[in-house]
Amino acid sequence: MKEILVLAEHRRGELRDITFEMLSMANRLAGENDMTVTALFLGHEASDLSDGLKGACDSIVIMDDPKLANCNADPYLVAMELVLKERKPLLTLIGHTAAGMDLAPALATRLSLPLATDCLEVNLVEGRLEVIRQIYGGKINAYLTMKPFEQYLISIRPGSAAAEAEQGKSGATETVPVPSWENLKGRRFLDYLEAELEDIDIAVADILVSIGRGIGKPENIPVAQEFADAIGATLACSRPVADKEWLPKSRQVGTSGKTVNPKIYIALGISGAFQHQAGMKNANTIIAVNKDPRAPIFNVAHYGIVDDLFKVLPLLKEKFTKK
């Protein structure tokens, strides 16, 4: 039977959600196409972690070596090369995460495998692999049919499926030999660093007023700040605003910033790239103001205002200060 291989992602002693999301996807595909699902666990002395995969796959392949303790693309590439050459899975899934983005392109090149990155959906249609991904910052969906190959590599956008540890499986564990580590290129993992976040914690705020590149320039920030003050909200932002240091990095919402679950999230001039959505889509109520009716933020917002934020804000603020 053909195999779907899922690279288990873990960091600092925890399996990451993307692992179970990919396993959900793989189990669905395997069910539809009569295939088996294998989780590949690269790590060191971490059976408590690899055991956590049992309920979500048919088998677990473990490679254990001190070099694999932390995700480092250099040894990971050599390890995966060995596994993929031995097992020849029809499909290998890797997360489109900081770890997976660092690994998948070089792996595909090394093994001459086709790779489609950042896919939301994967299907096998009459033996042909079809994927859906987004381009132009999420404004266009692209449906790709891959040419026929014996093996495919696909990286999966986080949040594309449910992350469930129990999927009615009981995967058997198998430990495989490590490679001889000849082809390493000398990249060394040194340390993890936690960004220092002085300033305030946006994750505890009930109401967030969040500004994006649409705010235009730092001189405009008081307009948003005054509105936030009027409704007792905290100011947050998308990445470009933090990149330009218009607001401190601690105010950034998204995959590389913070995940927030406020009662109300008001997005002003934010397009809604998936990395931003990942940090705010679970807010109870999302209100988005954007002059582009096709901005992806409207796909996760509950209420939308299609207009210029500089026209909306003064009027909206008045509703709270006049009383």
């Binding site: 693309a73 250099d74 489109h96 900081a98 983005m101 660092d102 392109p105 070089a106 090149t109 090394r110 489609a116 991904r133 381009i135 132009y136 910052g137 404004k139 266009i140 969906n141 692209a142 449906y143 790709l144 049919t145 190959f149 000398g186 060394r188 040194l190 340390d191 993890y192 660093l193 960004a195 109401i207 007792g232 990445r239 990149d243 330009k244 240091e245 990095k249 995959t255 590389s256 913070k258 009662k263 109870n284 109520t285 988005a288 002059k291 582009d292 096709r294 409207f298 996760v300 917002a301 509950h302 209420y303 939308g304 205002i305 026209k311 909306v312 009027l315 909206l316 509703k319 709270f320």
Partner: protein, 263 residues
């Protein structure tokens, strides 16, 4: 330190009304404003800063049509020394591997210590070209750099991970890095600045000149058989508030009061 930076010209789409072409394979680009890919702008700035600190040269390279000379001029105005334009003819419908092949052939014989690319391109968003290139060049790499220190023949790189976490890695040089936004504060480029570099000669080269055959690039060299584009339905999910601006704000204020318990 000699540094090569790969830069790409992309359409600005955040504010634009995108239209898909008749064939459904691409978007209509005529009315779109073109600019340097945001990530690549940070990469050029990083390269110029390293050069300013340690000496050496910065060479920028792009694969595209004639108009993409603009992004090269822009990079020269920021402080790059040399520029290479690879003619995109034959590369249409290339996947990331095809593009990386072109870039690899154009730079492989240059002498460099560092190759920088952006993390991803704003249009295709593959997030692939930099690492495919690293593998073609048989070099160590690190993606998503938010900090780079050169220490002798090594680079100490801060890689961005999720949730405000970073990892520090060490790489022997030469190496390839993909640069993340926010790593620096890119300098402003004025029209005057671009005028000043108008006499710098841009080296032009094409696919055949790079020794690439037709089936290594373009649609033939791509692992994608076909691509159909569609616009997601407008505002799927969101209730778009309608009426006069005053009415819309009144409704919004009510929502904020109801859902947030705001007075």
């Amino acid at each position: 330190m000699n540094i090569v930076v790969c830069v790409k010209q992309v359409p600005e789409v955040a504010d634009a009304d995108l239209e898909i072409n008749k064939e459904g394979s691409g978007i209509e680009r005529e009315d779109l404003v073109m600019d340097i890919n945001e990530w690549d702008n940070y990469a050029v700035e990083e390269a110029v800063r390293i050069k300013e600190a340690l000496g050496g040269t910065v060479t920028v390279v792009t694969l595209g049509d004639e108009d993409s000379e603009d992004v090269l001029r822009r990079a020269l105005a920021m402080g790059a020394d040399e520029a290479i334009l690879i003619d995109g003819e034959g590369f249409e419908a290339s996947d990331a591997t095809g593009i990386a092949r072109g870039l690899c052939q154009a730079i492989r014989d240059l002498s460099f210590d560092l190759v920088l690319t952006g993390v991803q391109s704003a249009d295709d968003g593959w997030g692939q070209v930099g690492l495919v290139l690293a593998e073609f060049l048989n070099l160590p790499y690190a993606s998503m750099a938010v900090g780079v220190e050169i220490e002798g023949d090594k680079a100490i790189v801060l890689r961005e991970l999720e949730s405000n976490t970073q990892e520090k890695v060490e790489l022997p040089l030469p190496a390839v890095l993909t640069v993340q936004t926010g790593i620096n504060d890119p300098r402003y480029v004025s029209i005057m600045g671009i005028r000043k570099v108008r006499n710098i000669e841009i080296k032009e080269t094409e696919a055949q000149g790079l020794g690439l055959s037709e089936d290594e690039i373009g649609a033939k060299g791509s692992s994608v058989a076909s691509r159909k584009l569609s616009l997601p339905p407008v505002g799927e999910g969101a209730e778009i508030l309608t009426g006069s601006l005053g009415e819309i704000c009144e409704k919004t204020a009510q929502i904020i009061r109801d859902k947030g318990g705001v007075e």
